[in-house]
């Protein structure tokens, strides 16, 4: 870790002090703050490292100003629309994730990458997907960035367990990774009751016809899982219909129409009937 320069310290000290309630509600000078951030940005990599060095775990000291400065910097480099500047900022932060900071500090850095990061930090974030404390922010930053996220999530899944596995499964659905359909189909039979609905939703959102059979089977479960798997079936049918796969969509709707005979599930039957009507209308129109 580099030492923090006195010039940086001076700049950071110019940022507002929290008021008597601990808030930024008094004496907030927009122009002054923006000038400070612009000057910190000019300090480049060293300034970023200096700010990171000032961060502490929550409750272990007062880092309100450097914490604020780092976030303002993340927003500032996006606002400038200077690709080189933004990329340099993101790379500088990403480098620190391999260093010896606390998990709480690293989590904060990842959240700033969620704001300003791009493809350049994707491999670094991917390495954190097996970390119980960092997998959630890392996965969220990855899917916010989008490009390249699916490969990282897919590659991390086989070795992931517990919370990391659940997080990865859900986010494979967010990025709609078709290459994970087989793995996610198997996750429908997972021992973990949170993982099964997450896998069902992920498969539905991906919208691949290979998921139809497994999702219909999952929708025969009971309670919350039945509700969630039924939703997944309806979502999958909508996705398939949008992709022109009418036969598969009809299969889902027909199954739900025929199996939801209990008055308590009449609304699902109606949803399926509506889906069938839309499908038939599209077929008549040659769509």
């Amino acid at each position: 870790m580099a030492k923090t320069s006195s010039a940086l310290n001076e700049l950071v000290s110019e940022l507002p002090d929290p008021d008597e309630r601990g808030m930024y509600c008094t004496d907030i000078n927009k122009t002054k703050i923006e000038k400070v951030i612009a000057r910190i940005n000019k300090g480049g990599h060293d300034s970023i490292i200096g700010l990171v060095n000032m961060l502490v775990e929550p409750g272990k000291g007062d880092d309100a100003k450097p914490r604020y400065a780092l976030h303002c910097l993340a927003v500032y480099v996006c606002k400038r629309k200077n690709r080189k500047n933004r990329k340099a900022f993101a790379n500088s932060l990403a480098m620190q994730l391999a260093d010896d900071y606390s998990k709480a500090v690293k989590s904060y850095l990842i959240r700033q990458l969620q704001v300003a990061g791009g493809r350049e930090v994707v491999p670094t974030l991917g390495k954190l997907l097996h970390d119980e404390e960092l997998c959630e922010p890392a996965a969220q930053a990855l899917v916010a960035i989008g490009s390249g996220a699916a490969t990282q999530l897919r590659n991390a899944l086989p070795e992931a367990g517990g919370k990391c596995r659940l997080t990865i499964i859900q986010n494979l659905g967010v990025v709609r990774d078709r290459n994970s359909v087989g793995t996610l189909n198997r996750a429908l039979g997972d021992d973990d009751r949170e993982t099964r609905p997450a896998a069902a939703w992920a498969l539905a959102n991906i919208g691949d016809a290979r998921s139809v059979k497994a999702l219909l089977k999952a929708a025969d479960s009971q309670g919350w899982e039945r509700i969630q798997a039924t939703k997944a079936c309806l979502l999958l049918a909508e996705r398939l219909l949008s992709a022109g796969k009418k036969k598969e969509a009809v299969g889902i709707y027909t199954h739900l129409r025929d199996t939801r005979s209990d008055p308590d599930e009449h609304y699902v039957r109606e949803a399926a009937e509506k889906g069938l009507a839309i499908t038939n209308r599209k077929a008549r129109m040659g769509g």
Partner: protein
Amino acid sequence: MHSKGERTMQKDKQVTRREFLKGSIGAATAFTIVPRHVLGGPGYTPPSETFGAALIGCGGRGNGTFNAMGLEARKLAICDVKFVGRTDNKMVYTDFRRVLERKDIDVVAIATPPHWHALISIAAMEAGKDVLCEKPMTRFIAEGRAVADAEKRYKRIFQVGTFGRFGASRNPANIETHKIMKSGLLKNCKAVHIKRGGLKVKQWSGIVNPTPQPIPKSLDWDMYCGPSPLKPYHPHRTGGTHRGYWDYEGGGLTDMGQHHFDPVQWTFAKDDTSPVEIEAYAPPAHPEACGMWGWVEMKYADGLTFVFDSSEWPTQGEPSYDRKENREVSLSDLSEDDQKKIAAMPAPEPLITFAEAVKTRKRAGGNADAANRSATLMHLANIAIRTGRKIHYDPVKEEIIGDDRANRLVNPPMRAPWHL
């Protein structure tokens, strides 16, 4: 064999809450229900008008939201993450999923902090329940579309808890404005609606560096955080003051904005669209704690402009915004021929309350599409504040144009297992 009267009663019992609400009988049955005074005398409520209800989120707005349903409702379940140690999973719950599994619950009032509003609303409709949800409807833009999709997919009733629009929709001046705007006859609309003050900016700000505190034994903190990032516990993040954190709401602007702009949006006939240009004047925002801002200007494609003026920053108690003045829409903005067309237009359909909607299966006046659009106003305003840049928005795709990083605030990822 049943007598005719018994059959009526029997049928009425069979049509209790479940079939009625699940939509299997639907509107056609509504007029077959015998009035309560015929069946059981004054004060008697027939079973078909009594609804099994649950309250999810039992804080300061809990009972108010529940009562706002306006139904003869039996409260069968209450649910709150702060009920740890006192749950019986019969009446008292900490996990809303267990409540929604119950088949005897027809309607759900949601008064949790807003980061849970959309998820629970969607889950409730997926479980076949009707929903009255406290404002603000959502924490971010994509949630609103997902609620509206669920409302349509399952044909459930959804109503957001901002009733100002019902009063607005009965006001003759508002009706005239509504008709003018709805007609599309007004080109280059120059109307400006400025909301000055009353947005509780300072009141609902967050602490910028909260010192973590021990989690109370009665609180399921992980469940409280839910889809939002799991942060160290601090009491200011809960119990009303949660409004001051991006993780759970969006400051006083989000808290009060939908109250104000929901009826204004109806008046200007903008329930089906959103502004296209959004510009804010604010200092750089804190990453976690909502703080000060001056004004936000939001312009629709037809030129109509809405303005939030905090009147709390840079100077407390004085207007922050001076770029435009309030300007109403009037018939005199139109040619004589067009004025005649407006006069010939029928009055807008009266808005339907939650209770009427539940009973008739007609769409509620503050339905998910309309509520999504009024919530979007606040979210767009906050995105402009948080990114420090002018936003261009596509009201059809419901995404920001040409700014991928600002779009990250339109649909931020959720913590598993929570998803839209």
